[in-house]
């Protein structure tokens, strides 16, 4: 079982929400992703969208864990998801150093992957799978809010 707050399943009329506090430990990300995916599947979200939300969650949280902290101490990352009428809204809050991933340069595709900037591939995937990303620095915390369309084919990530 994953620690932190359990997923809450409201009635059909209420907005379905999920919240999880997880430690800055890479080995816990897969488990947290499983909890998020179970919440989405439980609300009838289509497999393709579940896949995209899970991937965006993993990329954001692993980047926070790997690059956000100046110290090696324990930190708490709070992840929240809600299912809106048009989007899945995913919010990740961490107390690491200020970082707005929207300002990260896009990967240089002429370079082999290992020469590209650290975390760049993950941020690239996040950009391409989201419709919109908001960022704020609030009370010493990074708050990243990501919008993924419920209907497929609405992001530039939909190729071919």
């Amino acid at each position: 079982m994953v620690g932190g707050d359990a997923a809450s399943r409201g009635s059909a009329k209420e907005e379905a929400t999920w919240r999880l506090a997880l430690p800055n430990v890479l080995e816990r990300v897969g488990e947290a992703n499983g909890s998020l995916e179970a919440f989405l599947q439980g609300h009838g979200v289509t497999p393709g969208v579940v896949f995209s939300v899970g991937l965006v969650f993993e990329e954001v949280v692993t980047n926070v864990i790997k690059y956000s902290y100046a110290d090696t101490g324990p930190h708490e990352i709070v992840a929240e998801a809600s299912i809106g009428p048009e989007d899945i809204v995913l919010r990740v809050t961490d107390d690491g150093r200020a970082f707005d991933p929207r300002t990260a340069p896009p990967p240089d595709f002429d370079l082999p992957i290992e020469c590209r900037a650290v975390g760049g591939l993950g941020i690239h995937l996040v950009r391409r799978l989201t419709r919109r990303v908001d960022y704020s620095r609030t009370s010493g915390k990074n708050v990243l809010t990501l919008f993924l369309p419920l209907a497929p084919g609405e992001t530039e990530g939909q190729s071919s």
């Binding site: 890479l26 080995e27 990300v29 897969g30 992703n33 499983g34 497999p47 393709g48 896949f51 899970g54 991937l55 993993e58 990329e59 692993t62 990967p107 595709f109 082999p112 992957i113 290992e114 591939l121 993950g122 690239h124 995937l125 391409r128 799978l129 990530g157 939909q158 190729s159 071919s160």
Partner: protein, 127 residues
């Protein structure tokens, strides 16, 4: 969910690596280790069968790319078959691996492998 990795030598030097499950932050290190062990042998090609791979993240893509690069240095082939649509989509977005390494079926990948082997063998005659 874990990742199951099966390695099977289908022809001399042609190794099939079957991935079943999720290739993510948790499981990528295990695949990296299996590939490192595999590459100590005489390898002419590694064919990844991904029919049961359900998920891949940037950590998984990095391991695939490192494998591709190591094989290229050995003048060996890197082949991927049976990609599920969501896996193909992520690999397309990542632009980390050449599209010509993706084959629709094992038969297509094997035909390519056989053709490249014949080409290598006959190279001496052509020159």
């Amino acid at each position: 969910m874990p990742l199951e990795i099966d390695v099977d030598e289908k022809q001399p030097g042609l190794f099939e690596v079957t991935l079943d499950g999720r290739l993510d932050t948790d499981t990528a290190p295990a695949l990296e280790k299996r590939i490192a062990d595999l590459l100590t042998q005489q390898v002419r090609a590694v064919r990844f069968d991904m029919v049961r791979l359900e998920y891949i993240s940037s950590m998984g893509i990095r391991v695939l790319f490192k494998t591709f690069r190591s094989l290229r240095e050995k003048k060996a082939m890197f082949l991927m078959v049976n990609l599920q649509p969501q896996i193909k989509k992520v690999l397309d977005i990542a632009q980390a691996l050449p599209p010509e390494t993706v084959f629709a079926s094992v038969q297509e990948a094997d035909a390519y492998f056989d053709a490249m082997q014949r080409k290598a063998l006959s190279k001496g005659d052509e020159d």
